[in-house]
Symmetry: C2
Amino acid sequence: MAASMKDVAARASVSLGTVSNVLNHPDLVATSTRLRVEEAIRDLGFIPSAAAQQLRAGRAKVLGLVVPDIANPYFMEVARGVEDAALESGYVVILCNSDEQAEREDRYLAVLESQRVGGILIAPVRKSLKPLSRLLQHGVAVTLLGNAAISHDVCSASVDDTLGGGLAAEHAIELGHTRLVWLAGPRDIPRVSDREAGLMKAARSAKVHVTRIAAAQMTTAAGDTAMDSALANGLDATALLCANDLLALGAIRALNRAGLKVPDDVSVIGYDDIEFAASAAVPLTSVRQPKYELGYAAAKLVIGECEDPATHAHQRVQFQPQLIVRASTAPSRPRTR
Amino acid sequence: MAASMKDVAARASVSLGTVSNVLNHPDLVATSTRLRVEEAIRDLGFIPSAAAQQLRAGRAKVLGLVVPDIANPYFMEVARGVEDAALESGYVVILCNSDEQAEREDRYLAVLESQRVGGILIAPVRKSLKPLSRLLQHGVAVTLLGNAAISHDVCSASVDDTLGGGLAAEHAIELGHTRLVWLAGPRDIPRVSDREAGLMKAARSAKVHVTRIAAAQMTTAAGDTAMDSALANGLDATALLCANDLLALGAIRALNRAGLKVPDDVSVIGYDDIEFAASAAVPLTSVRQPKYELGYAAAKLVIGECEDPATHAHQRVQFQPQLIVRASTAPSRPRTR
DNA sequence: CTGAAAGCGCTAACAA
DNA sequence: TTGTTAGCGCTTTCAG
């Protein structure tokens, strides 16, 4: 067992309270005793127990980070930002991979509740805040990651997905494409629906038709499969917009297998601009999100609320996406070039 | 504040101890009272405080996962395995990104000590176990991730990197390459030195020369930079073996910029076989590691030690790597084909 | 400036 | 079968 404050007190021949003061209110302690206590702390390698501190404080300096896919480089960039912000403030991050399953998300939410975490950063599986309501009641700081806040009870840090979807669509339209395909994820992934809305709006106003197909998950494999069966069903289009880069990478694989060249036969646009988009078989045109910054800002937001719930006002931080044009998109009729 | 056991006891008009028994020894409680207590628990939405439980138990059901690069898909696959194993056993994972910096690793180790975590999974920045010794003394279960155990005080789960390095070298040699380049990471990254040793051994016994160059980090960007300057310095070789896939992906970018074609001019072999290796510009030949399984096994190992330190015997679990041949490698003189 | 003591939420030993 | 109690490590009054 690790040394406790009692051990330190004994070694420095002072009382428990004095040790605590050395740690938390050093100015209240006479220099000579302070030095003596600090020496004892060093000798014993004493590190205070976070659990005991928390038991008194009511809340732990712990953040829960709930993401739908830990293997997605997008979320890992976000996680880096969260982690850096947390470490700066002495917080620790519990990693929760909901795997896009509501049931798993619920399980983790219960775990985080049992841990009495101070704050939760969540890219929710569902649109509703219902699963979070208990936590909110108990005063846990929650901020939504990637979704604009649905309610006024929480902070959110997001990227303007409607704009992003529009950016992608407009790029395709400007290139002269008139039959767009939207490769979506499973129905009701919240962070995808805004992208779809933005895209549809842009398409409508340009009077361009959009065919919607859906992958079963937001992964490379699912993108491949979805594209495969769409092609088998006679799908024919010159521009493919994807709900994220993983889907795009998978879809390109399927297109290539079918003998279609990107971008000569089909232009492909991804979303997220993960690092690998640039080194993909065909460098991918994609809508970039400031991932690290998003995570960092979101974490600062929750931590702020944790530290000072009284004066905290809920905020919505929104970043702007940016279209990164690479080799996977080309004008609709290459010969006109 | 969340409901406590006291609240539950009051609502069910029983004593504290009875509530505890309902939770931990339901068989000792009369059915009727048990039902009453369970109802109170449900009504109040009571979830026990992990901190309080831990304070008694001495250790938290928490695992620290310390990895050098959270953005590396390799470690994220490992993390998925860890996380799944943890959740199964009611453990929670604190994510610690050491960023390949000893100082940051130390900081996290202190944090984990303060959290009184039950176990630590670590892919250490340094070779020595010294930074971990205090934790070990305090009875924290430690297992090394990716490195075979350096000492007998800890478990380890690893992949045979010596073999893997050999596999890569032999593949290049069989293809007829006689001038190999080894693109290593910064000196002393433990998990890389075994790969280098295996590779060098294979090269020696085939009497093949190896030029060693080193990237500043294990990232795509660093691989690109390192290759760039090596080429500028007149490096000339037909086969490039890389310490991981990220380096390989970056190096390929630099090669392409220099007008060199993969695999026509240079064969490239990566290491790890991350998912994107398959969809890279040139699908990458790589040494595959069972990443998820590695993480899962490692987590089971620590958890086993946490749960029952007395009967626990330290183990070394070692997985076998596998060479996955893709398009980035070709015989040394294409015309001889 | 320092010490003593209460209490955070829980478990386990013991009493009833 | 149920209740009572001590104590895990810490912070924070309140006395001295």
